[in-house]
């Protein structure tokens, strides 16, 4: 899960990382109060869990009440990379001398945490120049290493000391919260040589959630995604009209790819998982029936641990209860697939021998 900027900053504050004054709000009435508290000039920042906010117009300077009344609703109404505003952060404007980059991330191929730092921050990581990269095992950053990074960045005096302090606090935060990525970009050197985190990105390892009840408050899932998780399968909502259901993340992704190649648009990614039962698949179909835009369901199963008959039974139950009145295009293979096909004979499910045939029929069928 990627936290919003203001949530990441709440964690930064807790760990003593320097921040400018800022307050988040979800409506303009709240925002007006905050504007008074913070005082002009300040920056209005959209809170969405994706990058590229500046380019999309989601970060606006604000000098007075008139500008505030225009810009607050404008920013609130933006959609960036499909994400609507969750909140608005008002943050005090400040004089910046220089922008740095600092992150600690889980290096998947090296299987350890890694620091990336640069004295040329403020741009997206792909464009950050002169990156200093240090592997740090399970995340512990020693005084010595932090000092080395500061030196390599060319920082001196009080600024260097503050940077070292910030890096160590960031490392403590990363380890204690088991983050996959914690990024401060930019980390700014202010006119008085102090150091401030002007932005914050924080990606959690959701598999460690059970050890972090304190992060629960940041959990943000659509109702449907949350229900899916509870029922033991994984669902990602997409913006097309054909729901894609299968077993195994790889197989379902592969089905999305083939569907897209053939001109179809997936409405969701739904992996029933290795522990699927008739009940859980029925639950999955219930969620699909609640998704908007769905005009058909594409099913691609390779029965292994999950018996295809278990899935077939759930579909039959869904038809019987009038839960599903959409056309269903299925390819069933593997454990008990012959029996499953027999069960579905004469039902709403159209059965195909190959996934390609099922996909073509789904794409054609939806167009009608």
């Amino acid at each position: 899960m990627q936290l919003l900027e203001f949530q990441a900053k709440e964690l930064f504050r807790e760990y003593g990382i320097n921040l400018l004054d800022s307050i988040s709000s979800t409506n303009i009435e709240e925002g007006r109060k905050h504007a008074k508290e913070i005082g002009y000039p300040f920056v209005i920042k959209i809170q969405v869990p994706v990058g590229g906010r500046g380019k999309a117009g989601g970060i606006q300077k604000c000098q007075n009440d008139d500008e505030f009344e225009i810009k607050y609703p404008q920013v609130m109404d933006l959609t960036i990379k499909g994400e609507k505003a969750r909140a608005i952060l008002l943050e005090k404007m400040a004089d910046i001398k220089k922008e740095l980059y600092l992150s600690i991330f889980l290096n998947r191929s090296k299987r350890c945490y890694t620091i990336i730092a640069s004295s040329e921050g403020g741009v997206e990581i792909e464009s950050v120049k002169n990156q200093i990269i240090k592997e740090v095992g399970l995340g512990d950053v020693s005084d010595e290493l932090a000092r080395k990074v500061a030196n390599e960045m060319g920082l001196e005096g009080n600024t260097a000391e503050q940077f070292i302090d910030t890096l160590k606090k960031l490392s403590k935060l990363t380890i204690e919260k088991e983050a996959e990525l914690v990024e401060i970009n930019p980390l700014a050197i202010m006119q008085d040589d102090s150091i401030m985190a002007l932005d914050g990105k924080f990606v959690t390892d959701d598999n460690s959630n059970f050890r972090h009840p304190e992060l629960q408050q940041y959990q943000e899932k659509t109702d449907i995604e949350e229900q899916a998780e509870k029922s033991g399968f994984s669902l990602v909502e997409l913006d097309g009209d054909i729901a894609v259901v299968g077993n195994g993340a790889g197989l379902v992704m592969s089905t999305l790819d083939m569907l897209s190649d053939n001109g179809g648009k997936p409405a969701c990614f739904l992996d029933v998982g290795g522990g699927a039962t008739t009940e859980s698949v029925y639950e999955a179909l219930t969620l699909i029936s609640q998704l908007p835009r769905v005009k058909g369901i594409l099913v691609n199963l390779y029965g292994g641990i999950v018996k295809t008959t278990v899935v077939a039974e759930a579909f039959l139950k869904a038809y019987e209860n009038n839960l599903i009145d959409l056309p269903v295009f299925s390819r069933l293979k593997g454990t008990e697939s012959e029996k499953a096909k027999e069960m579905l004979q004469g039902s709403r499910t159209n059965i195909f021998d190959s996934v390609e045939d099922a996909i073509n029929a789904a794409v054609m069928g939806i167009k009608k």
Partner: protein, 305 residues
């Protein structure tokens, strides 16, 4: 480098050659017992089980259950174990196994915290042990030994090595290979997590020198850069056996986790385009559909003859 075949089969002079004992951790759980039975049915020598508190009992009236891995290893001298415990308890089960002298640890659970995986791998490194997974279907030499949860139907003994991040795609693609007359010498499930005990590149090192290997199939998916690193390794090492790849997730949106914890594209990092272009650079064709894998492989083999 670890000789994975020696770990799985042993040496010809050993009395248990091609019949190596495997300990099942979590053998009395629903999942563990189901797959213990299926592994036995496949011919795997499941020699003991471990469930704390159930020591002294027997599984299926014949396989002894122990409270700890140390007791199980002392009694059986096994070097292989497979873990089926819930993710929360994975780390302690894995430490128990590695400290008891297990040399090949197959980690089935999904949702293991990354930190626990990294601690496990640290210990495995100290002990000189191989970890497959977590979140893997397992490892198998078709028709000889299965340490995992794969259904038996798709696999057939043969000369193609298959490395896969995904479970069901491993079955799907092995099925397609088998139907085209390409049996498999070994299949290794890398797992769908961000951090893997055996990375694609490690698995490649394990199989690259198989003397009679006819071909290699790499089944990747979006997320991370292990496919890119492997492609670079193949370029650098001059490996020239017929090789074909498949990458799932071309149509997946960015910054969304697609079922697997590791299947997420951040910016350009982990994207399908990046992986496909590196494989192309390594002169490895990338199939658009699983069914295309054997077709491309046959083409590669024909060219190399």
């Amino acid at each position: 480098m670890t000789n994975i075949f020696e770990l799985l089969k042993g040496k010809p002079e050993e009395s248990d050659y091609e019949n190596k004992g495997v300990i099942v951790q979590g053998i009395t759980g629903a999942y563990g017992s189901l797959h213990a039975k299926q592994m036995i049915a496949y011919g795997t020598n499941v020699i003991a089980g471990v469930t704390p508190g159930k020591g002294g009992q027997k599984f299926e009236d014949k396989i002894p259950i122990y409270n700890t891995m140390q007791e199980a290893v002392d009694a059986t001298n096994a070097k292989i174990s497979i873990i089926f415990v819930p993710a929360k308890f994975f780390l302690s089960a894995a430490k128990d196994a590695l400290n008891a002298g297990i040399k090949l640890l197959v980690a089935i659970p999904e949702h293991v915290p990354i930190r626990d995986t990294m601690e496990t791998l640290d210990l495995a490194k100290q002990k000189g042990a191989v970890v497959i997974g977590p979140n893997t279907p397992g490892i198998m030499i078709p028709e000889l030994i299965k340490i995992g949860i794969m259904p038996p139907m798709p696999f057939k003994a043969g000369k193609i090595a298959v490395l896969s991040k995904s479970g069901t795609l491993l079955y799907e693609i092995s099925d397609a290979l088998t139907n085209s007359g390409f049996g498999q010498s070994i299949t290794i499930g890398i797992g769908g997590d961000p951090v893997n005990g055996t990375r694609l590149i490690d698995a490649f090192e394990m199989v690259k020198d198989i003397p009679d290997m006819e071909g290699l199939v790499i089944v990747g998916e979006i997320g991370g850069d292990s496919e890119e690193i492997l492609a670079q390794k193949i370029i650098d090492s001059g490996f020239n056996k017929p090789t074909v790849a498949y990458i799932a997730g071309r149509a997946a949106p960015k910054e969304k986790r697609m079922g697997h914890a590791g299947a997420i594209v951040m910016g350009n990092y982990g994207s399908a385009e990046s992986k496909v272009s590196m494989f192309n650079k390594a002169n490895i064709p990338v199939a658009k559909r699983p069914a295309e894998v054997p077709v491309l492989l046959a083409g590669k083999i024909e060219k190399s003859d």
